[in-house]
Amino acid sequence: MKPSELKDIIDFIAKSNLDEVNIETEGFKISVKRAATPIAAAPVAIQAERQAPAPVAAPPAAAPAAEPEKPAAPVSSKKTVEVKSPMIGTFYRAASPDKPSLVNVGDEIKVGQSLCIIEAMKLFNEIESDITGRVVKIMAENSTPVEYDQVLFLVEVD
């Protein structure tokens, strides 16, 4: 692939509204990703303990907080996926206080594997993964409230 051809591909992708393009041919593989879009900060930081009635409420964000920008054309073919909460409730790393965490940073996870527990209205829901990959960061704190669509884990996938 000539540098000018590579530039053409990147220009073409930049002009489109694709977020990511992976091209693989014999002897050549390229992955082009658009710079990460800013993620709107949740209008509140809920730091309330379940028992104490005095939560610390952050003032509502006037503008979305920007995520650090990822490079436009990473050489690596791996990407990081956000695992988001499917419900509002309290996030727990383990099935009960005396049991070990369901997943830790560095763990390889599979589709269907239990990642965490989210409790609401006294019901404990096991949250299963719908991707395969490696856990790179745990974004929510044990025993704290999480809302719908809040990022719980960052998982590196192929």
Binding site: V44, P60, E147
Partner: protein, 447 residues
Amino acid sequence: MFKKILIANRGEIAMRIIRTCREMGIKTVGVYSTADKDSLHVRFADEAVCIGPPPGKDSYLSIPNIIAAAEITNADAIHPGYGFLSENAEFSKICQDYNIKFIGPTPEMIMSMGDKSTAKATMRKAGVPTVPGSDGLLESVKEGIRLANKIKYPVILKATAGGGGKGMRIVKNDFEFEKAWEDCKREASASFGNDGLYLEKFVEEPRHVEIQIVGDQYGKVCHLSERDCSIQRRHQKLVEESPSPIITDRLREKMGAAAIKGAKAIRYEGAGTIEFLVDKNGDFFFMEMNTRIQVEHPVTEEVTGFDLIKEQILVAAGVKISGRNYTPNSHAIECRINAEDPANGFRPSPGKITNLNLPGGHGVRVDTHIYSGYTIPPNYDSMVAKLIVSAPTREEAIVRMKRALMEFIIEGIKTTIPFHIRLMDDPGFRSGKFTTKYLEDFDFSGL
């Protein structure tokens, strides 16, 4: 008094409740679906939590999600607003079970008024005038004719399993009865597989006049007079006003007393509204009771000076009401501004608001959640603002409303503002003589 109230609603009513809570020093929790993450109530609430994806059933109508949100934010009360879960007896019950005060009536009160025939029977037993009619199904034409003469023509024969106007016939005299009976039975049988019929007095040229009541936890109920909501399109209210142009002091006393009797019969707690049909003779009949705060509550607030949301919160916190009734001290009109195209059958017009100018000045109030740059999501109802004006007389209120409507600029979407402007100029509306059928003959062209 409550420390923190979770508002289980969205849009302008969420803003309304936040405002009163702020004045009362009560912290607020807003909830939102992902479609509402840029909504104004999310920014104004002290805290806000995302409870689900856009569909109502997965967010604002989801009892587990709302309760979970209250749990994690330690809210000690929930205000349900109007619509959504506000008249859901199960939700009221679950709040009780979870020790969260539901700002509204108990599950039993909601259930007693939720079923139309139970509500009617309860009201009748309490001595509240209801639309006269048969007690259940009619056995024969003879029985029907006898009853029709008792309650006086015109009457309406209705299919018990009916709906959508099918299996219904208005009967004006004895001669028409038998044919109407046969037609109804045939239609009902064909459409619903059930030819059971009942009889009701046909209320001629009805106006929709409702009475605002407030009941405390100790059995006391008071009324704050009426609102006339006869300007409706397809049974949706578009304009409301207080006082009603046709209600005399005497009639207000009678209707107010009837509304209080009805509410006391179920020991009603909270703000509520009893809706009546008023015919051309000034006779009024119970239609239904709404066991929640209503969209048009600001009309009553402007003419009585009371903050009805505050009254709801006080009553829920166990404060006693004085029991005094209140009558309008001025005239107020509300126009509901919807994101709809009145020139094209009022079809919904969601989209981004590119330019906004709110009206102002003496006697002008706007309750809204929209702002310049806001995109109206297509997932919920189309009301974008309520414009309420008050003035010493009805004539001055109409002039003021027209003036305020002319200042109200909303660009980027179509709204019903042009319809309201035309209505304010309309001689029929200005005369005060109109019924719930008025808009059926209204000219909507060229708006």
